[in-house]
């Protein structure tokens, strides 16, 4: 009875939508997995929409499951495996920077998880200093990462995807220290962009079409910028942006904290040009975080920090 009441309250609040035009929630959130004693977070849709990858508390370990929450399978129990992991373009593999700790030292390595072969493969040796995160290139054949001083490219050993070539197909985007780098996978050349000079960029999110990037400024707001460095748009307060499949919108979170704990977090959607900002969740007792937009454009996966569970809600325009 109490649980039912609580969930009704939660869902009723979540179904409330903003008055202005834009995305709205059309179906109450459905819990997929997690809870006390088995807390999960940070769900990410596979590009084909069939699966979700996610991690445990503290980004320890990596799991996948079907998009309906069934068939959960652990790929890794390694520390840090769940931070910054990325799906391959064909949804058949994941890449992450895993860590191990020996005495006081941290050792990092790039690891690929092949879901078809059900095997994982180290692409780099373990190193104490690895300040970049690995990313897939468009065709899925290569993985790139900015290392201490250079752009490092790994061959995945997989067959290249057959894609409709666009001008942006070879674009790569990564954080070089605290700046944004845009380059070409075929040449390895890149240029560094500093959209707000002197400021530190983080949580870089390239749009699926590779024409724009979203990012946060440390101690500042969330922004969108064209990959040539033009068209900077200040989107205001926001964290951990993720693009809609058409590259038009972003889903993200706005958190409140007291310097010790996150006290509240709600999910929002906004156009890349700063218009049509809509709040998706309105709860007082749930801390909704880490949204991810499904490839069909109709669903948002997210986690509730104080539940330790992953949910999906349906949206439409």
């Amino acid at each position: 009875m109490r649980t039912t009441l609580k969930m009704l309250f939660f869902f009723a609040l979540t179904l409330i939508t903003a008055a202005n035009a834009g995305w709205k929630v059309v179906k109450k959130p459905v819990k997929l997995i997690g809870g006390a004693g088995k807390e999960f977070m940070q769900p990410r849709w596979s590009p084909d929409g069939a699966r979700l990858a996610f991690t445990g508390a503290g980004y320890q370990g990596l799991w996948i499951m079907q998009s309906d929450g069934t068939g959960a399978r652990q790929l890794s129990a390694e520390p840090a495996a769940g931070f910054g992991f990325e799906w391959s373009p064909d949804s058949q593999a994941l890449v992450s920077r895993v860590a191990k700790f020996e005495k006081q030292f941290r050792y990092n390595a790039v690891k690929m998880f092949d879901l078809e072969k059900n095997e994982d493969r180290l692409l780099s040796e373990y190193r104490t200093f690895m300040p970049g995160l690995p990313h897939w290139a468009e065709t899925g054949q290569k993985i790139y990462m900015f290392n201490r001083q250079n752009l490092e490219i790994f061959d995945t050993g997989t067959k290249a995807l057959t894609l409709t070539k666009t001008a942006a197909s070879n674009h790569i985007h990564f954080l070089k220290a605290d700046k944004i780098a845009v380059g070409d996978i075929t040449t390895g050349a890149y240029k560094v962009l500093e959209p707000l000079p002197g400021q530190t960029c983080l949580n870089l999110a390239p749009a699926p079409q590779k024409t724009k990037v979203a990012f946060e400024i440390l101690g500042g707001n969330m922004y969108v910028m064209n990959v040539d460095g033009t068209g900077l748009v200040d989107l205001g307060e926001g964290h951990r942006p993720q693009w809609s499949p058409d590259g038009e919108y972003l889903v993200y979170m706005i958190t409140q904290d007291n310097g010790h704990q996150i006290q509240d977090s709600e999910l929002y959607v906004i156009r890349g040009d700063g218009r049509e900002k809509n709040q998706l969740t309105f709860t007082n007792d749930k801390i909704e975080m880490n949204p991810s937009w499904s490839s069909d454009g109709n669903k948002i996966a997210f986690d509730v920090m104080n539940d330790g569970a992953i949910y999906v809600l349906e949206i439409s325009k």
Binding site: M1, R2, T3, L5, K6, F9, A36, G37, E39, A57, G58, Y59, Q60, P79, A80, F83, G84, R97, A99, F101, Q104, F105, R106, N108, T128, F129, M130, P131, L133, L175, T200, L202, N203, E216, L218, G219, G220, H239, R240, T255, D257, N258, G259, H260, Q261, I262, Q263, N284, D285, M289, M305, N306, D307, G308
Partner: protein
Amino acid sequence: MKLVLTLILAILPFSELSAQVTGLAGWNIFLDPGHSQKENMGIYGYSEAEKNLRVALALRDLLLQTTDIDTVYISRTNDQQSVSLTQRTDYANSLGAAWYHSIHSDAGSATANSTLLLWGQYRDGREKIPNGGKAISAPIVNLLTRGMRTTTRGAIGDCSFYGCTFDGPYLHVNRESTMPSELSEAGFHTNPTQNQRNMNAEWKKLEARTLYWAILQFHGIARPVAGFCAGIITDLESGVPVNGAQITLHGQTYTTDTFQSLFSKYTSDPNLLHNGFYYFDNLPQTTLDLIVTAEGYGGDTSQVAVVDTFFTFKDIQLISNVPPVVLNSTPTPGDTRFPAWADLIIDFSRRMNRASVETALTLTPEVAKTFVWSNNNMRLRIHKDSLQTETDYTLTIAGSAQGQYEHRLDGNGDGRGGDDFVLHFKTGPPDLRAPLLTAVYPLDNSTAVELQPILNMRFDEALDPASITAGIFNLERFRDVPTVEGTLKHYRVGNESVLCFFPAQPLTAARFYIARIFPGLQDGFGNKIASQQMFRFTTGNATFATTNLDNFEANLNSNWFVPQQSGSTTGIITEKTSRESNTNVVNLLTTSTTSMQVNYGWDANAGAWLIRQYLSGGPPRQVLFNSSYILQVYVFGDGSGNQFRFAVDDNIPIESASNHEVSPWYTIDWIGWRQVSWDMSAGSTGTWIGDGKLDGTLRFDSIQLTYNPGSATEGTIYFDDLRLLRKTSVGVDEPAATLPSAFALHQNYPNPFGSAATSPALSGGNLETTIRYQIPGERQHVVLTVYDMTGKIVKTLVNAEKAAGDYTIRWDGKNADGQPVASGTYLYKITAGEFVQTKRMTLVR
């Protein structure tokens, strides 16, 4: 990075280069100065966030400049950034940092000051993965505590410290960082001493240095030669740190902070802030001469042996060479209302030679006196026989009085010792105490109060009518009606006063009301009530049909006997006993213009006492009823302690002396108006002539009074609006009275609250705030707790099983120890089953 490091090393002094530490290659650390901008303001205006940043920057410099560490990351670098918790951990995680250390200070009461290390811990007690935070916490807390020269609460898992309601860890920086982590609390920024020291630039290097040494120790790296000397310069007598002291050591000179150099950033009072802190580094391991000078003090020269393993602490106490002065006195100069019976108190600026002061002190006119010294002979209390009231006095302490170190008293404050201190004052009148509120009706926190109560406030002495102004009283219906309209009436009864408030309309059923008496009421001597008085009550929900018996507006003489006409009346002094009409003391709840006044005089030597104020005829005597009714009358009491009761005849129409029945006695211990009811359906009766049963048809007989031995033998009682009531329904016309259909935690009211807060209903401060919450359905175990912004429990207000209902709880701004908490934002959180909700409130003192 290496290029930057090389450049930095190139400009370092040789001593630092020679202290190059190896063993950190391949390692890096993410430093997180907690909070942002000027968050978590310290007690004297220096924030935790500013302190944390400077400690982090100093530690970063130490690690980069003196070790072979790969790099040091930092979550913010200035006081302008506002960095969220998720950005801090996202940045560290993105960089793949090897370690995460968050730098903080603590908050609490002004007397609390200790260190604390919090490592990441799961709810089941295990250390978070990856491990390491717990292991490094041990050396950190040890060195940090020694460096801060305070106590410690130890190194504790964060779930154990705070209590986790989820899997944990509790602290975000421990929960979402992918590397070993911990958080250090270096003392309390709410502690006055710590906050003033935190302002000093070098003091923060102590904290950074202890963290640096702990990192080296954790890595098994030998600590480089220390060569530091630091300490506090204080005034020997007052213990107050000395501003502007100059300390010379090994050819270097350090000047302690002054108002001009530092403290003017935080206060306009040049005497408020002091830390007395000094700091030297790069010292050789040997014994050195330490020379301290300060304006207004004798100098000090000592030796200090610089140790090679830690900070060398050397505190110095200086003796002032400024003549002692009188800082404060009670009475203050020129006081014209000093209580004749009170002690005189003199506070000196320095410790005094007791014998010299006592010899030098005179009080004119002369009175016998004794002396009590305290506060290290800096406070003198002069205990004496009571002075004469409204008389001029002069207290003199001759300039021959001396301080402990033979400095003569500077009585006139001209900076030179040897002159007299002279204090003129005048004693006040005999009464210097403000009126005291001794009783209220309805009682504070009472429930099921009638819907038309007369609010009654009794004071122990007569009030000055001029002080009873329009805004002196307010009745509020909580949350939605700031002021309930009505009439406030003052009555003086003997040497006491009573204020009666007559609401203009019936109150609302089942609602919470707050009555407030604001400061300003005073007695005839001008002694004012200085603080707000308040009482609260909740109305019932019963409504009644009313039948008037007699409102005493007319025909008093024809309807009612005088007391002596009844043969039952006995034990009176007849010339002092009477019944009459009164048009001044009436019940303003109704349209009454006249009441029945009964004057009584008892013969204390009689064996029995009764006044039977008999209803002899007229329409009131024609009213018949039965025992299902309530008999009610408004009684203006005299507070005498004598008694009153109702009498009825039963078994009407049979007329018989044995048919007289009575209510229990009601002791008249109140003054002013009060509604008195006899619920005859409850079956409670008193003893007189009848059988104690209310049989058949009833008729009103009389109001009766009796003497309660030991009580007043003379007095006056007024009666108004004698009537019958019959309960008609249980009326509920407010949603608040219905059972809630959902959980709810409402915003506290008023908000902000506290002595400096105001609301439309108040001219003064709201010393407490009320929190309303609703519980639906089944019984729930409810916990409602107030937290500070660091997540620490301030006080648990509710921890009990609660049935479905609408509840309110009040918080007076005090912690669990009963101590007032500081101004600021607080959280209150309710947990009822699986319902959890948190809201914020603001306390402004």
